[in-house]
């Protein structure tokens, strides 16, 4: 396996203290290579969202070791001070709902990230349009998010997650609101982009339609992950 884009060892997360303490993660281990798309599945309350928040540098794990994009991000404590910079430059997010910024058009929704990273408006928009075209929504570049269909909005959200070419993308139930055809299309796009940009993508899902498409799966139960071989070869 290549140098991992995501490596997690013994990651734990405890909410609360004393008798009220809840261990949401109890020593999670993961290793995902650049360009790989893996599924993260598990029942409600198993710790999927907590793991995603830890990987997204949104909440601080209680213990363990975590490499994101080839950099040691956590080793008993945060090793990177600028977490918002870490998220901006190393992690892309795709949510269950697209959560596009309603007051920005499609291009600027995508171009915002490179702009935040310090790129010029022109360069950021060029990059955004290029990616939107690659995702077949280039023709809606000037539209407002509210004018797009659900599938188009999700593709724009994927473009936003990938525009800074982050080594890691975390997708939280990205196909939940979509029908089978569109859901498989989204997975197809994620696989294509992972391969093209060498991005490691974790897809949290309950969606039975797309679970068979993953080559590798992590099943999470009671705060622990179990690696499984998937049936799929992508889509």
């Amino acid at each position: 396996m290549d140098v991992p884009a995501i490596e997690v060892r013994g990651l734990s997360k405890r909410y609360g203290e004393g008798d009220a303490a809840v261990d949401a993660l109890k020593g999670v281990d993961m290793r995902i290579a650049p360009g790989e798309v893996v599924g993260l599945i598990g029942p409600s309350g198993s710790g999927k969202s907590t793991l995603l928040k830890c990987l997204g540098a949104v909440i601080e794990p209680t213990g363990g070791y975590m490499v994101l994009g080839g950099r040691v991000a956590f080793d008993g404590g945060w090793k990177i001070r600028d977490l918002s910079g870490l998220r901006r430059d190393n992690i892309g997010f795709v949510f269950q709902a697209p959560y596009l910024i309603p007051f920005l058009d499609v291009t600027d929704n995508v171009a915002l990230l490179p702009m935040l990273a310090g790129k010029s408006n022109r360069e950021a928009r060029r990059q955004a349009v290029e990616l939107l075209e690659a995702l077949d929504v280039g023709h809606r570049a000037k539209a407002a998010p509210s004018e797009l269909s659900g599938g188009e909005q999700q593709r724009v959200a994927i473009a936003r997650a990938l525009v800074n070419r982050p080594p890691v993308v975390l997708a939280d139930e990205p196909t939940a609101p979509l029908d089978s055809e569109r859901a498989l299309n989204v997975v197809r796009i994620l696989n294509r982009m992972a391969e093209q940009y060498r991005t490691a993508i974790i897809v949290v899902t309950h969606d039975e339609k797309i679970i068979p498409t993953f080559r590798r799966l992590y099943r999470i139960r009671d705060g622990r992950t179990f690696e499984e071989a998937g049936e799929g070869r992508g889509t």
């Binding site: 999927k48 969202s49 907590t50 995603l52 928040k53 997204g56 949104v58 909440i59 918002s84 910079g85 870490l86 998220r87 901006r88 430059d89 997010f93 949510f95 269950q96 959560y99 910024i101 309603p102 007051f103 920005l104 600027d108 171009a111 915002l112 990230l113 702009m115 935040l116 990273a117 408006n121 936003r160 939280d172």
Partner: protein, 397 residues
């Protein structure tokens, strides 16, 4: 970097414009209040300037004709005229009264002055100056009188022969200029019943109606009906003389109070208008607080409505200072929209105020700065809320 605040304002332009209209009306009222104060000060300065006087000689221990009643004999001006440094001196009377005209009451300040002397209006906008000794008036256009119109003042009818502009008293009443003798009569002459009554009382007084002194009774009656008082003597100082020195000589040798223009302006602006100024100042502070509360509430509720977007922005790596700047700019944008509307409405409705409203560019600039400061302060609560938004809420779970 694109302006997130600008895009949000454009996206929700109707919300911002309608909110801006509400805020703008409030700012318009604030600017108008400042304009009313400026107008009062300007009225006072115009009143002094237009009188053409360098010194006001008035009754001892009074503040002069505009602030307190002042009564002095109408021959005092002769003595003043003979003093060194005095180029001109003339009697004037001032009387605030109600004139009934065409079914409406017009409150005016009736000014009695002598033609060609200090005290008459410095310019006319229509008609001519008073040419006859009686029954002609020049009126300020704000009285609503027209040339050739006849108005009744006390017992007599007067013809409006000229119109002037911006001639108002310190309380904003338009002025009506009439011949000094007529003005003295209007102010000091008793009505017929009072004269008959006074004559009967004098006739019944043996000390005043002595059988052995012919002519005494008639002389006393004549003195009772004469109106030989004025309110002030306006003095013009000869060139090369110090008005303060001339005023000091009048105080010392003529036993009168004498005020230079600077002193009279201080009386008018600092004493007469002071209470109004404090009133307006208090009102301005209240309006500023109300504006801040409104902007604060609006920006706060708008921010609460964007919690999800803020969480996404934070999650994708938007810095706190970018988010704070966005909310600050939105608040300032709202203030700017409000100010533009406020300035526009204040300018549009200023001519309809009964008193002169003077909107100075300097006040507008100060108003803009104050609006921006108020909006910046008002955005702090919303910024605090925005910075507390947890990016994890975008992920859910």
């Amino acid at each position: 970097m694109i302006s997130l605040a600008g895009r949000d304002i454009l996206h929700h332009w109707a919300k911002y414009v309608f909110t801006g209209v509400g805020l703008g009306l409030l700012i318009g009222v604030t600017l108008s209040m400042a304009g009313i104060y400026r107008g009062m000060v300007d009225d006072a300065q115009v009143l002094l300037r237009s009188s053409g006087a360098d010194i006001w000689a008035v009754q001892q221990e009074t503040l002069g004709p505009y602030a307190e009643p002042s009564n002095m004999r109408d021959d005092a001006y002769r003595a003043i005229l003979g003093m060194p440094g005095v180029a001109e001196a003339s009697n004037v009377t001032y009387l605030t009264m109600q004139i009934r005209q065409g079914g409406r009451d017009v409150r005016v300040m009736a000014v009695g002055s002598e033609p060609g002397r200090p005290g008459e209006p410095p310019f006319l906008v229509a008609g001519r100056r008073i040419a006859r000794s009686h029954y002609e008036v020049v009126a300020d256009v704000r009285t609503g009188f027209r040339l050739g119109e006849r108005v009744r003042i006390r017992r007599h009818e007067y013809e409006v022969v000229g119109l002037t502009r911006r001639m108002v008293s310190s309380s904003g009443d338009p002025m009506v200029f009439l011949p000094l003798k007529d003005a003295q009569e209007a102010q000091f002459l008793k009505d017929n019943d009072a004269i008959v009554n006074e004559r009967a009382r004098t006739a019944a007084n043996p000390a005043l109606n002595r059988p052995g002194v012919p002519g005494l009774f008639d002389a006393i009656l004549a003195s009772q009906t004469a109106s030989r008082s004025v309110n002030a003597v306006l003095v013009r100082v000869a060139s090369g003389h110090d008005p303060e020195q001339v005023a000091e000589n009048i105080r010392r040798w003529k036993h009168l109070e004498a005020y230079t223009r600077a002193q009279m302006e201080e009386i008018l602006v600092s004493r007469l208008i002071e209470t109004s100024a404090r009133q307006i100042g208090t009102f301005l502070v209240i309006l500023a607080i109300v504006s801040a509360a409104i902007v604060s509430f609006i920006i706060y509720t708008m921010t609460l409505g964007k919690v999800r977007e803020l969480a996404v922005l934070k999650l994708i790596g938007t810095r706190n200072r970018t988010i704070a700047a966005m909310i600050l700019q939105q608040s300032l944008g709202l203030g700017l929209i409000g100010f533009v509307i406020g300035k526009t409405v204040a300018t549009l409705w200023a001519p309809y105020f009964p008193k002169y409203v003077l909107l100075l560019p300097g006040d507008a600039v100060r108003g803009l700065v104050a609006t921006m400061v108020v909006c910046a302060v008002a955005s702090l609560l919303a910024i605090r809320v925005a910075l507390k938004v947890d990016p994890a809420t975008a992920i859910g779970g």
